[in-house]
């Protein structure tokens, strides 16, 4: 394990209750639902704890990636285009 990782783990061990609390409040923090005091306290902890900071960053990244990569344009097969054209022409609900 690298020195950097050991140092991060050590830092995290210094305040396990705050780390646990951060994970518990993660959703509310990322969705900006925390009251000011709780948010400030959590952000103070993030300043001290690289492990929690990375955890929050990766959670945000997942939300961004999900949105960015999951709206793919998918070319319609020609048969589907034709079926939809017929549907539009013939469906009684479309009057």
């Amino acid at each position: 394990m690298s020195k950097k990782k050991i140092s991060k783990l050590f830092k995290c061990l210094l305040h396990p209750a705050e780390c646990w609390r951060t994970k518990k409040l993660l959703y509310e923090y990322v969705e900006s639902e925390l009251d000011q005091d709780t948010q400030r306290r959590l952000e103070e902890h993030l300043g001290d704890c690289p492990s929690c900071l990375q955890y929050v960053k990766s959670y945000r990244q997942i939300i961004e990636l999900t949105h960015k990569h999951c709206l793919p344009e998918t070319p319609m097969p020609p048969a589907l285009k034709q079926k939809l054209r017929e549907f539009i022409e013939q469906n009684p609900d479309l009057k």
């Binding site: 990782k5 991060k8 993660l26 959703y27 492990s51 990375q54 960053k57 990766s58 959670y59 990244q61 997942i62 939300i63 990636l65 999900t66 949105h67 960015k68 990569h69 999951c70 709206l71 793919p72 344009e73 998918t74 070319p75 319609m76 097969p77 589907l80 285009k81 079926k83 939809l84 054209r85 549907f87 539009i88 022409e89 469906n91 609900d93 479309l94």
Partner: protein, 202 residues
């Protein structure tokens, strides 16, 4: 700010749809069909059911165009209508299969693990590949492997970015249940995609 050509095209489409011009519906499929199809496929995972979703979405667009006020982009509105049609189709399918409910039966216990979200190939991709199109495939694969009640809330909230109130209404979930389910789905995705995240160290 001047409008783009696409916005002008969409404004004309909306006007024609409001005038009950059916050829505008056909044109809408030509212009936005690929995106609608992408959304429908994400929900249904097969071409046949995706077609039904698109048809339902077209009927909804036709019937509801009068209520479209232009507060959001027309494209966003179309995709939301398609996503809602996808959700309705999944619910219908579940009723037929008498299977797991999308609403109530998924565990929303914070501490219960999500068991089935594993990528089939967990070998980390080389960084260069991970930062290009391959990453998108991994993200989509991970979402696809979420159990359906979780996949649905991710698609509606994080992919389509529907407001919480609309997702609650569409899924029938209470606010705490929706938040819990969304959070657990995100954590499961994070776990599955950790090897591909920037600056990762767990």
């Amino acid at each position: 700010m001047s409008k783009t050509d696409a916005q002008i095209d969409d404004a004309q489409l909306v006007a024609r749809l409001k005038q009950r011009d059916k050829s505008a519906l056909d044109e809408l499929v030509q212009i936005h069909g690929a995106k609608m199809y992408g959304v429908a496929l994400q929900f249904m995972r097969n071409e046949f059911d995706a077609r039904e979703v698109m048809q339902d979405a077209l009927v909804s667009i036709w019937n509801k165009i009068g209520s479209f006020e232009g507060k959001s982009a027309f494209t966003s509105w179309i995709y939301r209508v398609t996503a809602n049609a996808g959700l309705m189709a999944l619910r219908k399918r579940k009723r037929h299969e008498n299977d797991v409910s999308l609403d109530a039966s998924a565990s929303d216990d914070d501490d219960a693990p999500l068991p089935s979200l594993q990528l089939s190939d967990k070998r980390p991709l080389p960084d260069k590949v991970a930062m290009t199109g391959e990453l998108g495939e991994q993200v989509r694969a991970a979402i696809d492997r979420l159990p359906e009640p979780y996949r649905v809330v991710v698609l509606l909230r994080d992919v389509e970015e529907l407001p919480m109130e609309e997702v609650m209404e569409a899924t029938g979930l209470s606010e705490p249940a929706l938040k819990s389910r969304l959070h657990r789905a995100r954590l499961a995705l994070r776990e599955a995609l950790l090897p591909y995240l920037k600056g990762r160290d767990g």
